[in-house]
Symmetry: C2
Amino acid sequence: MSNQIIQPRTLKGFRDFLPDDMRIREKVINTFKQEFEKYGYEPLETPVLEYADILMGKYGEEAEQLMYTFEDRGGRKVAMKYDVTVPAARVLAQYQNQLTLPFKRYQIQPVWRAENTQKGRLREFYQCDADTFGTDSIIAEAEFIQMGIEILKKLGFENFFAKINNRKIIDGITQYAGISKDQFASVCTTIDKLEKIGEDGVKKELEERKISNESITKIFEVISQKAESSLELLDKVSSILATIPEAQKGVEELRKILNLLKAGGIKETFYKVDLSIIRGLAYYTGPIWEFEVTGGNVGSVGSGGRYDKLVGLYVGKDIPAAGGSFGIERLIEIIKERNMISSDTQTTILVTIFSSDLLELSFKTANSLRSQGINTLLYPDENAKLDKQLKYANKKQIPYVVIIGPEEKANNKVKLKNMKTGEQKEITVV
Amino acid sequence: MSNQIIQPRTLKGFRDFLPDDMRIREKVINTFKQEFEKYGYEPLETPVLEYADILMGKYGEEAEQLMYTFEDRGGRKVAMKYDVTVPAARVLAQYQNQLTLPFKRYQIQPVWRAENTQKGRLREFYQCDADTFGTDSIIAEAEFIQMGIEILKKLGFENFFAKINNRKIIDGITQYAGISKDQFASVCTTIDKLEKIGEDGVKKELEERKISNESITKIFEVISQKAESSLELLDKVSSILATIPEAQKGVEELRKILNLLKAGGIKETFYKVDLSIIRGLAYYTGPIWEFEVTGGNVGSVGSGGRYDKLVGLYVGKDIPAAGGSFGIERLIEIIKERNMISSDTQTTILVTIFSSDLLELSFKTANSLRSQGINTLLYPDENAKLDKQLKYANKKQIPYVVIIGPEEKANNKVKLKNMKTGEQKEITVV
């Protein structure tokens, strides 16, 4: 390699975050952290590498093919984090004696997937999850939905809502329609497309999947119900599925969630029951939800639900769990597109250096400003012309510049220049 | 795998950070971020995986053997981040047109090394770096040393200091002592042990390395100089090495740094010139430094220096650079051992649920508290006995508990209990 230049480049699907990006990311991440902590979720971090068998315990073959796995130098089969849910379940099992249940944790960390980047998919991206372990109460679900609404508001979104459903109602609908176990998964996958391909599209696809007309009619008898409110919709569904205990239980859970959201003073424009959302079939066991930002073809920016069976894989006994994930990368993209958060530099003042013999004075002044809590950049070259330093401040969009020349030195003052207005005034820095 | 439990475990050298750990880590990391930004360093993050040839450009064979490398699913040879300096150099080359020089960046991210864990070494740990690219002025060095001192103070340390040296002086000393190029590295390695094995130890090892007595005497003529102050020490060294221009240049650089630190009002107890510190030989080209916390066998908690040749490997032309790394993992360990930062929960109030029919009232109360900015945990189970909920608050060390029973409901009040003193009072939550 010797004298050859090493070609600088990034792997496809991986990104560098330069300062402008970082500032927006950090503001978004800090909003999540603050809100998670406001709701009593506690921070957790797990390693990037895990024993491969631990990460592969839960996922299907498809996921395993997307996992970054390799043999480490000790011959262990290891894998890079695929999501943050399985590591959290592993932690719950491993530190059973140390962690008190119920345990609410949040985790904001990158994960890796060997996705096809031609579709614009990322191979490294952050996940942002919050979950409650060790309770079967729908308080966990209601609080998460409420928190999600609050977070989206805090981030500056106005038009969005949570779509809420329940796996138990989905099971009830398919039972009611006489769908066999074999057909269950493909029927659900098709129903999930309702918003995308419309009622006719779903009907057509169900026909193609050899679902009887009678079954299709029964499915739509339920999922196309309309009502003034979500509670009313639940009443209708409840009466259609009156003979199916599973569905009744699911309706009752959603009623409780809706009542809590109402008690919490959340406006009904922010949430609604939507019987067509399905989410991960192998995973969820109760209420499920999706957050959708309206306008600009954005779609889902968060989702979650109850999954009472996962943790048991590691603990050996079921530990009920409910929570979800925010699509933090997608949210950041929208926030950038819509200029919702400023990427302005965090530096308030550039202290220039008039000449090398006045360096110590500038150094001292920069220090005084910092000790007053002001983010201050001292131009790091005492031989640069003042003009170059001022241009630098403009390029970096630093709002103020301090100049200390011989005159200012003599008067024991410094010149403070507002780079936007050009206004200058002499001030004393102690 | 089916019904078998997946054994929960972590790879050796990798760690989970449970909430108590996380809270301390976050406080430490936030202190670094705030101080870095106070000095005008900007945030940067780079991917975990890079093309292996990029990461291997700089390091010797030893490092390559410690690197986590593998072939990805596309047959590319990739490696996990080994440090954050090389990725920063790569970024500088890759985004030359986008980044304005001088560029000050900080980077706080995990790195991976396939270390021998039997020596207690970690395989995944955070690095915490700040560097200034694009200036050859010693302002970069002086500011970093000053910032390091400020950060250690902010973290709560009182007894620590920076040891400062210059590669140019080391070169000068070895020239003065007539050390050949072949012997240079091994002589430096031995001198670096001065504090550890003492003067006699170093002399003995140099003899073993076949260094002549005359050379050893000359080395010690310089490095065993004592003086009242660091500036005085530099005067003495300067006159001994009067005929060696390289050394004169090195002395002059350190003089400037010391003068700036003095101008900045930093107490001299916090820094001193120490001619025995060496640092990475293949890497640094000018001033170098180490931060040492005294007491408790702690040793170095940070280091850095000027390295004007690294970035050129990626850019094709030299870009001067100076900066360093804080041993954030070691600092966190000391902070925990010495109880310098509390790991107390961030939750201020637990709102209990008196009975399931009073759930909505508790839910509403928790919301009101949160909207007032109070971190509030609603006990996530409406069927738990009050006593269990109070015990939970104690176990989690949540300082306050709110109780809302039928009586409180009737009076439109809630009971607020201080869990430390047992004191209770009725308050109104709107």
